[in-house]
Subunit: 208 residues, 2 copies
């Protein structure tokens, strides 16, 4: 129990509560108001539940690391996708972040494996090939009949990274493909941006 | 390090990552998708930062408890608002939850103190007077010249609690007031609900 007479500089400052709110407010898309609501929620829950929550956060961060093959999040040495004998090991989808693996997995129909680069080339931010999981990608594609699907964003960094990968694989037998660009399913054409519209026109396919 | 050969039932299950997402998804207004984004964010941050975050959550829950006078969150025996000699101890704003104290404090102009009931009467949920911080409220108002501002929600539970408090104080010299009901500042009259409109009409004041 604290001495109530030990007054801090601001007479009404509850430092620990403020610290909790500050920490929660560092989370993405959690503003100050949401952080306060989360803090009050946590303080209203049983002690054991909140301790378990904190322990899970801490343990997950400590034990989850990049898969030694593909770089995706795993608590094992090699992730479960890489180890699954039903997945095609010669069809490798190259993504920037683990979140994108989750997005592909949600479709439930991709049968290949992944390679998570951990970012894209960005010389201005000091991210060169050495900062990314690129060499391990090139080591994975030495066998015959491998296809790499480049699934990177279409910004400058993504394009530069895609170009770098394709140039490094010139002369190899690797097939390099990329995701189709076009109109998102369910979009109203009126609201599609002009670059997407242009790509969709260029990549038009036969009406069947 | 886990044995990669120790396969779980679902061959691609990352139990710890799923557990982290599950835990985050129990937070209010955090859906499954936000929980996943938060989990990936936490896994992308430095180990020490995430450990500190988890430790703050755990420590805050362990050390923050109800103020022994008013019931608001505090890490001390008596909260800083109750101890502040500049606050009027005879002007007590009665609220349901600590979050409402924060809402009043944000106005920066309330000079009184608070009493946090910890809920409202709700016989159907098994919440009677004994489950709320009511007796300690009645003990606080024995001096002369005390005003209680009832700042509870206008639902059935809030109204029942307000009525209970006023009935228990019949015959005492305590002045009991409640928050004004009316049109929210900045609201478009077109979208104000009819009950609020009715209250605003009933409580109309002189145009000055």
């Amino acid at each position: 129990m604290q001495e109530p007479s030990a007054r801090p500089a601001h007479p009404e400052r509850e430092a620990l509560l403020e610290q909790l709110i500050d920490r929660l407010a560092t989370l993405p898309s959690i503003g100050r108001k949401s952080a306060q609501r989360l803090a009050y929620h946590l303080l209203s829950r049983p002690l054991e539940e909140v301790s378990d929550f904190a322990a899970t956060v801490s343990e997950a961060r400590r034990r989850i690391h990049p898969c030694s093959v593909c770089g995706n999040h795993t608590e094992f040495d090699i992730c479960r996708i890489c180890l699954n004998p039903r997945r095609q090991q010669n069809l490798i989808c190259v993504v920037e972040k683990p979140a994108e693996v989750a997005a592909f997995e949600k479709t439930g129909s991709f049968q290949g494996v992944y390679h998570v680069l951990g970012g894209c080339l960005s010389p201005l931010d000091g991210i060169g090939p050495g900062e990314l999981r690129l060499e391990s990608l090139f080591r994975r594609v030495t066998a015959d009949g491998v296809e790499i699907i480049i699934a990177l964003n279409t910004n400058a960094e993504g394009e530069a990274t895609a170009t770098y990968i394709s140039q490094r694989l010139v002369g190899s037998k690797v097939r390099i493909t990329r995701l189709a660009r076009g109109i998102p399913v369910g979009s109203d054409l009126e609201y599609v941006d002009e670059l997407t519209m242009l790509r969709a026109l260029e990549s038009r396919v036969e009406f069947q």
